[in-house]
């Protein structure tokens, strides 16, 4: 289980963030006392840090700058500032991503998992049942049989696969697609899912994606 450290001084927001992340299967640690935020930040063994820019005392950019000299743990900046300069600065100080408030929760989760994946340098292929999933090639293979997925199908499969066994709402799938600049509508999503089902069926997994009425889909 990946552990995430939240450095955010707004109590409500911090609590809501913890709630969201815990429900999505992360362990969460929060900083409550900001008098020595940096010490706690450096001492933490988290796999990823969510860092607010405006903090009491030292601001997030300064913390990040110091932290990067010592540790490589991925950092995602969260901010309500809307200046390009802040983003440019944060990225130059070594932030892995930058998200402005109010953020879409699904996108936040997607970005977190993307950053974690990128830094974990996971193998480019993973196994789903006896099907080999190649994210780089965008294909599914079983034995000598290979099915090439379109970009949309791959995005859908990846979201379902990352949350295997959980119900994934159509909205979450939509958000993931739109976040990848694929602006499809509701009908097109249905079409893509049925195509993906077809391809999975070819590979001997016709029951892989189950529809839960009014809730979404589950990859079994």
């Amino acid at each position: 289980m990946n552990k995430i450290l939240i450095i955010e001084d707004d109590r409500t927001l911090c609590a809501e963030l913890s709630n969201l992340l815990e429900k999505s299967g992360y362990a969460v640690e929060c900083i409550r006392d900001f008098s020595n935020a940096y010490m706690q930040m450096e001492a933490s063994d988290a796999d990823l840090i969510l860092l607010d820019i405006s903090l009491p005392g030292e601001n997030g950019e300064a913390l990040l700058q110091k932290y990067r000299k010592v540790k490589e743990t991925p950092v995602i900046m969260l901010t309500s500032r809307t200046e390009d300069m802040d983003q440019v600065l944060s990225m130059s100080y070594g932030a892995d991503d930058y998200i402005t408030k109010p953020y879409n929760p699904t996108i936040l989760l997607l970005r977190i998992s993307a950053v974690l994946k990128r830094t974990a340098k996971t193998v480019q292929t993973e196994m789903y049942r006896d099907i080999r999933v190649s994210f780089l090639k965008g294909s599914l293979a079983r034995g000598g049989q290979e099915q090439i997925l379109t970009k949309n199908e791959m995005i859908i499969f990846q979201v379902l696969f990352d949350r295997q066994g959980e119900i994934v709402s159509r909205d979450d799938l939509m958000t993931a697609l739109w976040d990848n600049e694929e602006y499809i509508n509701d009908n097109a999503l249905s079409v893509n899912i049925s195509r993906l089902r077809g391809k999975l069926a070819e590979l001997g997994a016709p029951d892989a994606i189950e529809t839960r009425k009014k809730q979404g889909y589950v990859l079994k």
């Binding site: 809307t82 440019v88 109010p102 879409n104």
Partner: protein, 337 residues
Amino acid sequence: MTVSGFIKDRVPGLVIRAVALAVIIIFLAAFAVPFQAILAVTIVFVMAATAFELWEYYRKKKFYNRLVKALEELDKKYLISEMLEAPGFLEGDILVDTLVECDKSMAENVAAYRRQNKEFREYIELWVHEAKLPLASMRLMCRRSPEIENKMAVQLGRIDDYIENVLYYARSENAERDYVIKETSLKKTFGNVAVKNREALQMIDARLETSGLEINVLTDGKWLEFILGQLMANSVKYRSEERPVVINVYAEESGTAATLRFRDNGIGIPAADLPNVFEKSFTGANGRKDSKSTGMGLYIVKNLCDRLGHGISIESEEGVYTEVTLTFNKNDFYTPR
């Protein structure tokens, strides 16, 4: 200063001197002073008076003509006190002192307003920042009830939009340069806008078509995001109920510039209103139909484009479409204001 104007101004003095001369002549005549003596006195008197007036005329003319000319040439008239030389006569000295005092007082006044303005802007920036925190919390909270999440997200999105409007209005009215121009990916910038508006677009079942966005332009990413967000909001607001909503965004690059076209198939803008849509508080015929129009959106957009040095134009046919074109200059021709 003209001769006739000067003489007119001196009439009382001249009249008094003429009367005095007449009285002197009558006196001298009464004491039976010889005619030649009276003539000599009169000539001396008139010559002295004339010489004095001429001297008076020339030294004043020199000062005031310079003043008038300097005032004409200045485009910032309030700088006049900096342009004057010492006049060397009483009224002139008083005038110059007055102008200098006035200027000083005005400068203090302007500085006070400027400070007030700056403080207000800083407060707005801070306020926007603060207002976004509860918004972010609420956005996370509404995830707990999936059945209303989208509807809530749309409404929260609207609040966020209004908040940003205030921020960018304050920014666009400010003379300070607080933007960062850099190579910005149109695809990514538009992507952020699209994701932000996804729920709203999906609720009206709008189709979003893009092409050619794989280019970089020189702009401030956040400002451009706001601009595109406003255009998107307009397309949603002024959609036509008669047909499915289609929003077309396409970009192309030519030798010296890149253009981004943002086109919808909404209700369009009446030809009579079209030239005025970028004006402050202009709502037009469409605005009167929709009570939510403030007439500020496109005004702010135009202002931001002007400041970034981007071109913006609008084309529309009532009942058919509206198309806004943004033009981004390439490096060599880039001239921000």
